[in-house]
Amino acid sequence: MAQAQSIRTQSQPDTGDTYLLPGETYTSITSVIGDVPLTPPMKTPKGWIFGFAISFALLMVFLVSVSWLLIRGVGIWGINIPVGWGMDIINFVWWIGIGHAGTLISAILLLLNQGWRNSINRFAEAMTLFAVACAGQYPILHLGRPWLFYWLTPYPNTHGLWPNFRSALDWDVFAISTYATVSLLFWIVGLIPDFATLRDRATNPLVKRIYGVAALGWRGSARHWHRYEMASLLLAGLSTPLVVSVHSTISYDFAISQIPGWQVTVFPPYFVAGAVFAGFAMVLLLMIPVRTFYGFESYITIRHLDVMAKVMLATGMIVVYGYFMEVFGSLYSSSKYEQYLLYNRLYGPSAWAYYGLLFCNAVAIQPLWFRRVRQNIPALMIISTIVSVGMWLERYVIIVISLEREFLPSSWDRYIPTVWDWSLYLGTIGLFFTLTFLFIRVLPMINIFEIRMYLHQETERAHRREAALHGHGHGHGHDHDHGHAHASAD
């Protein structure tokens, strides 16, 4: 128990100001966040209905696109030899990368005891899950016979065969399924105490029962909290390597091949940084409208946005380093194919994508060095959008430009996505936003009890600082009070 609590309820270091706006109480936190999912159906905000309707329409586009794909096969896409990987893999990598911010926030920042994460972890984890759900569609749909996707799992089949463990396709199966499972568990475990809060606050008996079942009999006893802390720490420990390993595995899809431009040794860390980069851009892109719409400015403060912008800038600069390494690699390789790749990126038929990528991911993030930009909401929205486009272009550059001009000039060809490529992409965006809107509607999108705990810690800290200022004896005091934050809420 001591181990579990020492990390989660440790006082925050006395640096900087609080991440909560003053004037918040346990009750105000609980009611402001908790009342959103408990709104009666007839009083659903019009804005939500409007957004959900658009997303759902896009989800129907997904349905149509997938149905046609199942009927006709992957020939409806623009892929062919030599460009056998097109928007299916571009979008797969793009989506799975977006998910990484959630895992970083929920796992690594938890272990690093960053209290400010409490305001954004629930939302970011949800985003992770939905992004993984979108990403998972692509490798399955691009199989040719998607209904046999389970052949990729090792089970005692009548073929008398294991899947090919040397194939990156199979590594993806394990990477993604592990990632989805751990993320889902982590998310659901974190929701249990909040389900209990919703159960207790709901007035409609049916709603009360639904949240009650989800709360699994949570009563907030010390034993419950102990087990909860243990479970979430263990899951954080399990998720931490996943932040690094999943996208490294995705990068091996390219790195184990012999295609020029796919084998720079910086690929795994470069992919991971790119994933976190894209993920934080997406978190910003989603959280800024939500916090304005639902009036969560007290919990997701301008300082949160500032910190997330800093993470985005840092990972973005790692990605830029990756671009330098790619250029260096092709110049230094003494391989004419690698050198031609650089020429092709700069002057080839798809050079627009490379310049676009350099602008979006290297140039457009530079204003983030300035605090004024990091705390300017329209600027953040614009930069995050540009970064999301830029990361999509990055995968386009890596996949399409390399494949369009492979070793043999006689087999060079262009890649032109068809309407079905685009409709599937739009469709997964619809899937993502449909899930996000449902999540916003029925679940507390900010972690209520962690914010309460954070408020408790911040209050403690304020007392401590006051005591130090007035020169009272032992400045560390009040440690006996830890852990009461959960129980005393409501």
């Binding site: 009548t158 008398g160 159960r199 207790d200 009360k208 699994l216 009999g217």
Partner: protein, 219 residues
């Protein structure tokens, strides 16, 4: 605030966890058994043919060699179904008036082939070659069972890929001397592993790597 769940709700939740796990395991097991079952594989289901032809009589009792009718079995990927004329080589003289022969005679007179019903069906994406098996010492009965005892033919083996691998991974367990290939009553000797290893070497059966290569059967 009153209780919203009865006292035994916790027990129900706990039970449902185990029930869910059990259900999953059972589902996997049931599917696994079903796809291997004789019912799904249509094993031991005698297939009635348009002509009451008995392999038991022709091969078992009369001792006509397989290749008298299935001429191409050792030369081609396909073990041909005999033409009506092949039947008539004997039946123009023997049992000419039997009612059982009537469809054959009719086919001969009209030139309309008999529509035999396929019993052993291998999917289109499998390139199966009879001649290589027969010429490397794999007997008919290894896959088709003891046809010489079947009045009406049925499928005796499951014909899924794992079953093919039994032999492709361990050909020495199933190989026999070429002279015994068409012997339906052949019994493997007690020292089959020894004899088999020698035969594998002698007949130049491909290495196991090659036998289990995807493109050996899927082209």
């Amino acid at each position: 605030m009153g209780q919203i769940f009865p006292r035994n709700a916790n027990l129900l939740i706990r039970l449902s966890i185990f029930a869910g796990l059990l259900l999953f395991v059972e589902l996997v097991l049931i599917l696994g058994v079903y796809f291997r079952s004789n019912y799904f594989r249509q094993i031991n289901v005698a297939v009635e043919q348009p002509v009451a032809f008995s392999h038991q009589m022709h091969n078992g009792v009369l001792g006509i060699d397989c290749r008298y009718c299935h001429v191409s079995v050792d030369k081609s990927y396909f073990a041909n179904i005999p033409a009506t004329e092949t039947c008539m080589t004997c039946h123009s003289q023997i049992k000419t008036n039997s009612t059982k022969i009537a469809p054959v005679v009719q086919s001969y007179n009209t030139g309309e082939p008999i529509e035999w019903i396929r019993v052993h069906n291998v999917p289109d994406f499998v390139y199966f070659n009879h001649s290589i098996h027969v010429n490397k010492g794999i007997g008919c009965s290894e896959c088709h069972g003891q046809i010489n005892e079947m009045a009406v033919v049925w499928q005796e083996q499951p014909f899924y890929m794992g079953w093919c691998f039994n032999c492709h991974r361990n050909p020495e367990q199933y190989i026999r001397p070429r002279s015994e290939v068409y012997n339906m009553n052949y019994v493997h000797p007690a020292d089959q592993l020894q004899v088999g290893a020698d035969l594998v070497k002698q007949y130049g059966v491909a290495s196991k790597d090659q036998l289990t290569n995807c493109s050996t059967c899927h082209r």
